[in-house]
Amino acid sequence: MDYLLTEEQEMIRELASKITENKIMPVREELDRTGEFPGGIVKDIAAADLFRVAIPEEYGGIGGGCLELCLIVEELSRGCAGVAVSFAASALGAFPINRFGSEEQKKKYLPLLASGEKLAAFGLTEPNAGSDAGAIETTAKPEGDEYVLNGTKVFITNGGEADIYVIIAMTNKEKGARGASALIVEKGTPGFSFGKKEDKMGIRCSATRELVFDNCRIPKGNLIGREGTGFIITMSNFNHSRSGIGAQALGTAQGALDEAVKYSGERVQFGKTIATFQAIQHKLADMAIQVEAARALIYSTARMIDSGKQKNFSKESAISKVFPSDVAMAVTVEAIQVLGGYGYMKDYPVEKYMRDAKIMQIYEGTNEIQRNIIGLELIKESKRKKK
């Protein structure tokens, strides 16, 4: 379907697509096997200027928005969601600086992130604070003109690979969620080290690692916004990024569908290609219906966000994550069914698509948490109407 993208958006999609076809697809199986971080591909993405896309022009960016990011993430995920999430996680780390950072912080960090010279990461999750993000235990105690960070973050995408981390920590424990703040921590700061690197089911080439803070001192100038705005920043960040997870799921589902269509045209059983069987055609049709619906949803949501016309879009953003990630799970499982025994083997890429898809129902807010958000917003909306 023609989504009426601008010429520039088409260029962006085309560039990401070229990286997928030329750089990612030839090595994705090996990356999946070894779990090695795709540093070379990240350099290719940087050379194509794709890290510049969502950074404002005055800081070395192109000044695009959510839709442009989604287009890139979708295309990269068609190749490998592990690569795509390494790209997307840097955008997730850059967003709080771009949106809430001081002029000084923007000047210092955004050009480095725009060029792709440095990667960013966002650190919220802790061993005891996942869906219950208010339960975080990492503290940032103000001391003179510094904060002293203590605590451990887990499952941090780009952990160890990124140079610039946005960390959510409690600057005032008594205030609960209103006592959380967002701080910029640079790799190499004394007291900041990396713990366990996770061995994952899918997105295996992305780096998922523990961040350990042990009396790590950072200057007060690294506070983003004001003290106590950490959760507002986090929620705003996720509201803007959830469509990106949707785009990951979309690319993953599209990749699996493409493989299923291709295979069904080649595989011969009972003297015919299996694509001639209605049982297979209906499977492919159902997959395509879901993929296209997910795409329409993501692009519309991203456009709405970029327009800036709607202030509260947590419901829409949650929907644009839940539906595509559920679609990706269903479509990748079905793709394996189309390929039959071969689909179950690592010689074909569909089993990897399935393993990659699973995380998208989990991270950046589980789909259950997303449904909570959607449900709450529906109730709020209905109350507003009654008034």
């Binding site: 260029m11 560039l15 990286i19 200027d49 794709l50 510049r52």
Partner: protein, 263 residues
């Protein structure tokens, strides 16, 4: 280092179809791309510039639509492009083409190195690169797989030339011309900023009247090559492969040769 790279726009297919009536390539309905071997030439030009400074100018001769290939070069990061386009250039063989291209070099005057792909994927002659060097009376090395060194004084270049048995190290004075093989590098992809620049760029077009050239040496008139017939050869049948122990295979092979009265 001022570098000139010559490129050609070719059909994006390895299965070129030929019109049997006119003995020419059927170009309708086939997308055009930059000759794959020329991509290595562009990349090498950019790498030399990055190491030594200077400018990279890409030149192509062709119809107005060859502009698209030049825009792609801008998106990859070259500094300047020129399209040589004129009706009088049409029908050029390799002699007339290399003469025309050499006239563009003479107009530019200031250059240190010319880089071409080893051959075009459509014509496969590998003659235009050396032809340009001959017309300009400069040294050249074909099938370069590596530039080993360009000394600080930039008066010479040392390269590795691919030969059947391995490679030869050759050194020559600059200005010079090299043609490159795919082993030399991996061409970069375009960048977004490059593509945005390419979209805005005005592509300079040089015609016959823009260059000092001898009209009789151009186009069909300047092309002594006459194509009498082009045909698609019949594909050879797949051979038979014997597998197993060497001795058994040899016996089977001898049997087969006897059977076919070869021995």
């Amino acid at each position: 280092m001022n570098i000139i790279v010559f490129i050609k726009q070719v059909p994006e297919t390895t299965e070129v179809k030929i019109n049997p009536e006119t003995n020419t390539l059927i170009r309708e309905g086939v997308t055009s791309i930059i000759n794959p071997f020329d991509m290595y030439a562009i990349e090498e030009g950019l790498r030399v510039r990055e190491a030594k400074g200077g400018r990279v100018t890409v030149i192509t001769m062709g119809p107005p639509q060859a502009e698209a290939a030049l825009r792609q070069c801008i998106a990859m990061g070259v500094d300047e492009v020129v399209l040589l386009s004129d009706r009088v250039f049409a029908g050029s063989d390799t002699l007339a083409t290399s003469y025309t291209l050499s006239c563009a070099v003479r107009k530019i005057k200031d250059f240190d190195l010319i880089i071409c792909g080893k051959q075009a994927s459509d014509g496969d002659t590998a003659q235009v690169g050396p032809g340009i060097a001959q017309h300009l009376n400069i040294p050249f090395v074909t099938y370069v797989r590596k530039i080993e060194e360009i000394p600080e004084d930039r008066k010479s270049i040392r390269v590795e030339k691919m030969v059947d048995e391995g490679y030869e190290v050759r050194e020559m004075k600059l200005p010079a011309l090299i043609t490159v093989v795919k082993e030399i590098n991996e061409p970069r992809l375009e960048s977004l900023r490059g593509k945005l620049n390419a979209k805005k760029a005005q592509i300079p077009v040089w015609t016959f009247s823009d260059m000092e050239m001898d009209k009789e040496r151009l186009g069909l008139d300047g092309s002594p090559t006459q194509v009498i017939k082009i045909f698609t050869p019949q594909p050879r049948e797949a051979g038979e492969i014997f597998e197993g122990e060497a001795e058994d295979c040899v016996n089977k092979l001898v049997e087969k040769m006897k059977e076919n009265k070869i021995v």
